[in-house]
Symmetry: C2
Subunit: 232 residues, 2 copies
């Protein structure tokens, strides 16, 4: 398996390139519009065929690159079941396994940051957590039908029950961390460790964060597979 973590500095977003190095089948998870040229060049350089782009959720802080990549490569756009993205080619539901050559990608419904969010477990070892679980943090729950109680349940019951050595690759990091493990986050995540569900809900309700700068633009654009930006 080829596994590449890619970073967008402006929005501190991680995109992931996964490929079967035998069949050359590839997928991108959470591509960023401004990085489409970089990502498409990398696919070409490595002689990979982009089968699909996969979203963890409808992002509020950046516009997806899926629309442009679909035009450039004829890949599919796959999104979580119930995400309000009518232009997607396919949805993926909880526990569904996607195949990419000989790689398997299991979707784990981890709602709470938004009301339709999937984490993706690659070959049982690499967990892409989107905005459900960050390294020593988690995504906010105060817009897009977020729900702190549901996020607590999903993270503690569906992610923290995976083996300790599972690698945690988040959708963002703002402090320069690139990877963690389930074992680490269970013990060291200040949002979850030692907190009850009620304490977590109180904490998340008191964050008082400003809205993401790109939110008004990004949410409708992402509901259209990033196509809004394509027409500009």
């Amino acid at each position: 398996m080829l596994f590449r973590q890619l970073f967008d500095q402006e929005t501190s977003t991680y995109t992931y390139l996964i490929a079967d190095t035998v069949t050359q089948d590839a997928a991108l998870v959470d591509p960023v519009l401004e990085q489409v040229e970089r990502d498409n060049r990398l696919l070409h350089e490595l002689n990979l065929t982009l089968n699909f782009c996969l979203e963890t959720h409808v992002h509020a802080d950046h516009i997806t690159g899926t629309g442009q990549l679909r035009e450039l490569t004829h890949c599919k756009g796959i999104v979580p079941l119930n995400a309000q993205i009518t232009c997607a080619n396919q949805t993926v539901s909880h526990n569904q396994v996607l195949s990419l050559g000989n790689i398997n990608i299991r979707a784990i419904e981890t709602n709470g940051h938004t009301d339709s969010h999937m984490s993706y477990l690659i070959n049982g070892t690499h967990l892409l957590t989107g905005d459900a679980l960050f390294i020593r943090g988690c995504g906010r729950t105060d817009f897009q039908q977020g729900n702190a109680g549901i996020l607590y349940d999903r993270v503690t019951q569906r992610l923290f029950t995976l083996p300790d050595e599972t690698l945690v690759y988040p959708g963002h990091d703002y402090r320069g961390h690139t990877v963690s493990t389930i074992g680490e986050e269970k013990c060291l995540n200040p949002r979850f460790t030692g907190r009850t569900r009620d304490q977590f809900i109180t904490l998340m309700g008191n964050l008082n964060l400003p809205n993401p700068k790109k939110m008004m633009e990004a949410v409708p654009a992402n509901e259209g597979c990033g196509q809004v930006a394509l027409t500009s």
Copy 2:
């Protein structure tokens, strides 16, 4: 082995944390002054003992965190032989192997970006290339006694002769790439691929880059193990 890539957004610098998970011995390669608190916290969280900080070279674009980390943890500061860093505890020379628990770190002299630069090969698989080799690029050669001809020789003769699958972890990346391989860089690096030594020298001589913003501050600070900043 625990291997963590850490990023400083302001200077696009990668720091590497390497540790033997049995003995808990750890090393940091190219720590950044502004990230000392983050890196020291991570050492504590993972219950690691920082044996040494290792520099690839005297940086011109950021101040090393070694001085502060040495005060906080009593680690050693190890620098390339001939680097003008008189406050270091130890130097490392070409082909010398440093031990970190059961991990071995082999220094490979890769001068050219500066006149004293080491790459470090960790357990034969992870190559930390500092500013000698970037992903699809390389460090500039127009100050600090840089020499494009020497850089060409070192990269093509000492790095590109390693196995194709060797993982390349650079000292910086400005486009969001995190890792590459020797096989990829041999085929896809626009600075080196298909270029003769003379062509490379001409290319590097015509880059006309501005000096790094922090250069006048960083070079003398790094020659003093970052201690200059400590006294401010």
